[in-house]
Symmetry: C2
Subunit: 248 residues, 2 copies
């Protein structure tokens, strides 16, 4: 299994100003690439907090993605903070400078915009097909924009640099009964089916209580085995249920 952490850098998420849209997108995208998102942290635009989080996460996770704080203004301190975390200098990247200079033109390539050409020493650029200002990679750390459209475009550009492990497949079953009535069966199935994990998520819809069970495992045949056991338990208890989702 290959794992990853996401570090979101942004006062705007912590103040409640902005609703995060990057966690779910990245989680789903990584899952497709056979990489499991196993931790997320959100920290403010404060260098010491960014440095501490980066240095904690890059040691213990295979990949670390960051979003936010790579724009042209004073509150965009991600790039300098990553340089500090790695203990390297922070300076202008000639290729990033060339791209930005060409995009904005001589006159509009202001000092503020020139900041966006600065990366930690040794960084590898990540292309930005939306607004040119690149992200960058330092070892196992990938520094992306916070604006969802730009973040998503950057992710596509680095697909070839990421090496996945085994993809975790999942299949879900919706049951029209409270999860507490399923608890014993779920525990038994998870125990009996090695390496399968079962998640149980209650919902309330039109005044009725129900449960969505999600079976996850890197081995499709074990998912089939757990789903068979689950359907048999549900049928024995005479609960209504919907057709299982496709394994995806």
């Amino acid at each position: 299994m290959v794992n990853a952490a996401l570090l979101i850098i942004g006062d705007e998420i912590l103040s409640g100003r902005t609703q995060d849209k990057n966690i779910q997108y990245l989680a789903t995208w990584l899952n497709e690439a056979a990489i499991q998102l196993v931790e997320v942290r959100i920290v403010p635009d404060v260098e010491a907090e960014i440095v501490a989080a980066i240095n904690a996460l890059r040691e213990i996770r295979d990949y670390v993605f960051t979003t936010g704080g790579i724009g042209p203004t004073h509150d965009d301190i991600t790039s300098a903070s990553i340089a500090a975390a790695f203990g390297v200098s922070h300076g202008v990247d000639a290729e990033a400078y060339r791209r930005l200079s060409e995009y904005y033109g001589e006159e509009d390539f202001t000092d503020a915009r020139k900041r966006m050409a600065m990366v930690p020493e040794g960084a590898l650029l990540i292309d930005n097909p939306v607004s040119i200002a690149p992200g960058f990679q330092m070892e196992n750390v990938f520094v992306l924009a916070g604006v969802p459209k730009i973040m998503q475009a950057m992710l596509e550009k680095l697909r070839d640099r990421l090496k996945g492990g085994r993809k975790v497949w999942s299949q879900s079953l919706t049951i029209h009964a409270p999860e507490s009535k399923m608890a014993g069966a779920l525990e038994r199935i998870e125990r009996d089916t090695d390496s399968v994990s079962l998640g149980s998520y209650p919902f309330f819809r039109n005044g009725n209580v129900g449960t969505q069970i999600v079976i996850r495992c890197p081995d499709k045949s074990l998912i089939n085995q757990a789903m068979d056991a689950l359907l048999s338990a549900v049928a024995r208890m005479n609960f209504e249920f919907e057709r299982p989702s496709e394994i995806a």
Copy 2:
């Protein structure tokens, strides 16, 4: 200033199955209570990860809130994990048992549901007016449900237990110009106005580029001073702008 961290416990957020709705709500609610959310972590339903995060956060933050993992099924391990983090035993709380027993009735108070009466030794219950099964408080750690409606109701129930510091007020200004053109002015205003922080957030609307500037400070008069300086800079540069928001 009084600060807080949020620990979200849930495979369903990390797998991309569920879009988080608790961060923004809690951030906004805490801000009203004059408490600043300064960190969020999301970890999977794995005891060692929960214990490590709880013990890291409760040392360095004034308050820690957790959401998720307090239901009746095998994947609900938050309560036992908090007991492990504090090094105390985990057992049935008589009052929680009484409430749940009364709510479900003798016959429907299954073993699975009885798990929801278990809390760490020394915990103080947090009322749940939606579905009865309580949250709990251990020292500066507040353990809440993950379902947004229940989490929100629990928060209201513990308002009197939280002690805020100075409220951070904010005011925003929308400018119809790219943020890079504002960068110099923003940096100068933040430097000149002690304890004020300025956030700069670009947006794209109907093909036009704009910037929302958010001024934040516990002192309203300093917000006024920074806003005056900002409006004067914007006027000098001849940018279009909208009426500033109320200070809130």
